[in-house]
Amino acid sequence: MATAGENLDTRVHYLNANYGIKSWLLTTDHKRIAILYMASITFFFLVGGIAAVLIRIHLIEPNGAIFEPATYNKLFSMHGIIMVFFFLIPSIPAVLGNFLVPMMVGARDLAFPKLNLLSWYIFMTGGLLTLYSVVWGGVDTGWTFYTPLSTTYVNTNVLSAAFGVFIAGFSSILTGLNFVVTIHKMRAPGMTWFRMPLFLWSIYATSIIFILGTPVLAITLVLVALERIFHVGIFDPAVGGDPILFQHLFWFYSHPAVYIMVLPAMGVVSELIPCFARKRIFGYSFVAFSSVAIAVVSFLVWGHHMFLSGQSVYAGIIFSALSFAVAIPSAIKVFNWTATLYKGSISFQAPMLYALGFIGLFTMGGLTGLFLATLAVDTHVHDTYFVVAHFHYIMVGGAVMGYLGGIHFWWPKITGRLYPDGWARLAAAIIFIGFNLTFFPQYMVGYLGMPRRYAIYPPKFQVLNVMSSAGASILAVGYAIPLVYLIWSMRYGPVAGPNPWGAKGLEWETPSPPPTENFEEIPVVTEEAYAYGAKEV
């Protein structure tokens, strides 16, 4: 589909418009900022991934193969903190969101481009501070920083890690703010709310969570820091404080945070399925409203992380019922995607493989979430590997696959190059197999009672643990392969035209890579989203 004779070097686009490190580090172009984020989060993913590899190697032996328990505590804390705050939360919004939101609404940039660049610098500052904290000295409280352990009883780098996360939170807040204002005020003429691509609805819903949830985490970390520094007793039972208050404030953000991780991935899937089934999405408004419903209801369920903390059972009942409710809009989306596939003209390029993988694995993860939302079952599986498996199915099987699917889908637009689809499909398959081999045994071993965050375990669980570690090694190979061919493609891949997938959307109507100002003229939108299957393409 590449235009014959198109020479990427002669046409001016956002990648070659300016050269030099200053033009990248001082850019306000949302597309360049997206690439800055892409590089950063890939780096953090590698760091968090190394921690995961070490954990899985350690857990081959029941008595722990390599590390002392104190070190193991630091490893899983590092894995959680880095992966959650510095990979998953920014991944799709900061990379694909930054790149695509202005293009999808038909604007030249986000509402506040300089604020966008500031967001990246804030992110890097927080990230590097946290990286220092978890690597030099380490943090051993888990990514959840529960009190009074984190405030009173450990002498690890809790303060600097919490401060790093606090700083990075402002990056999220500013990004969310930018997206909300852009989507409200900068849509092209004719782009009504219900003509927007569903990716934008998901980003909008995610931004609501950024805006309303992250500040609560920020103030909670401030309180933890003050308690550590001044030994004041806000969460200290000795003075009348209540550790559970910390948990309420922490999870008020951190539960919606998991929807920050999954909603954008759902948005990506909503773009991929219609394109690769050549069919308009089934139930557009249901999917759109479900995105917002997920964002809203996600704020009502945080107590399901606290069923066994000492929280009142009556509050537990309320949170349990609401947790069942939050599954409904997610399920609606899955049904709509499936209905879109029905009688579609399906092709299985790499992005589609990731989208289909998402649907299956997210469904499994989501259903096990219902197990956990049930008070009686949670009593048995809380703090076991069942929970670990549940959230990895959603975060890795769901969010990461959504991220990879999106990267593979929009790669030609971002770089102007195509990657070898054969290798991409192979990698997707290896990731799928490796993922299931890693995490399905964890459901089993968790249900059988193996606790999480323990450096040792009873020997009867060894077979399943070894299976899980073996799967992790396969998963690692699966993640390494795209790094190779994607980087290779930037130099040697065939030139992509404006729309190699034949997809619908304003971003596909620009050249690949797009010019700095996105559009020669601001487009006027006249058709509905996903107008696939129209007589004239």
């Binding site: 202005p102 604007a107 030249r108 940039d109 986000l110 509402a111 506040f112 481009p113 807040i173 703010l177 930018n178 909300v180 204002v181 409200h184 005020k185 900068m186 805006i211 309303l212 949830g213 992250t214 500040p215 609560v216 920020a218 103030i219 909670t220 401030v222 309180l223 003050l226 520094i229 001044f230 030994h231 004041v232 007793g233 806000i234 000795a238 003075v239 009348g240 404080g241 209540d242 208050l245 309420h248 404030l249 008020f252 100002e517 601001i522």
Partner: protein, 218 residues
């Protein structure tokens, strides 16, 4: 008449000045929503503990000076008035009025922080009421009184920090206004700073009764 800035005020990503102005306002309101939740975490914690330990919290509240608190409230309300008048002056292109009102607002904000630091916090510290530093109160309900003072210092401290940020922003705007940077078509920055300033005032409007007037003073 006072517009002396060289570049066009319209940023490249916007189609017209109206869109730019609306985006700036919406952006500031969304930011204020995040601030509501930031302070909200403190209000939530305060509400919980206030209802768990009424005697200690009332005792703590009674140790605060209502007169100073009320004066500070009045200072902030005055500063909100001058801020609103500053925005109005910018809207009308009146450079001198704008500068004057910005100076007054900044001064009142600084006065608030100074009163708080020198008359209230210093006094509380000298009385041995600073948790973590020198808390030595040893009457009944000492523990929950300490908890009250934790929240008192943290909430007023975070508020004062926001006040100082506001003072900083207004100082920058002051210099720009004096140079004639703002005009009837170009005063977004003043308006959005005004929104921030009024918000910080609103937070204090709630902090004053919650901290100083709990349970009444009869």
């Amino acid at each position: 008449m006072a517009d002396s800035h060289a570049a066009s005020p319209l940023a490249h990503q916007f189609e017209d000045l109206e869109q730019q102005q609306e985006a700036a306002s919406l952006g500031m309101w969304v930011f204020l929503a995040t601030e509501v939740m930031f302070f909200g975490g403190l209000f939530a914690g305060y509400t919980i503990y206030r209802n768990l330990y009424p005697p200690g919290f009332e005792a703590g509240s009674h140790m605060l000076n209502v007169t100073i608190g009320a004066i500070n409230t009045a200072v902030l309300i005055c500063s909100s008035l001058t801020m609103a008048l500053a925005v109005r002056a910018a809207q009308m292109g009146k450079r001198n009025a704008l500068v004057t009102f910005l100076i007054l607002t900044t001064a009142l904000g600084l006065a608030f922080v100074l009163i708080k630091l020198t008359l209230e916090w210093r006094h509380d510290y000298l009385e041995g009421l600073a948790p973590g530093l020198n808390f030595t109160f040893a009457g009944p309900d000492a523990k929950s009184l300490e908890l009250f003072f934790c929240f008192y210092f943290i909430m007023t401290g975070v508020h004062a920090l926001h006040m100082m940020v506001g003072v900083g922003v207004l100082s920058v705007l002051l210099v720009q206004a004096w140079k004639g940077h703002f005009g009837p078509n170009h005063f977004n920055a003043v308006e959005t700073a005004g929104l921030y300033w009024h918000f910080v005032d609103i937070v204090w409007i709630f902090l004053f009764p919650l901290l100083y007037l709990i349970g009444g003073r009869y």
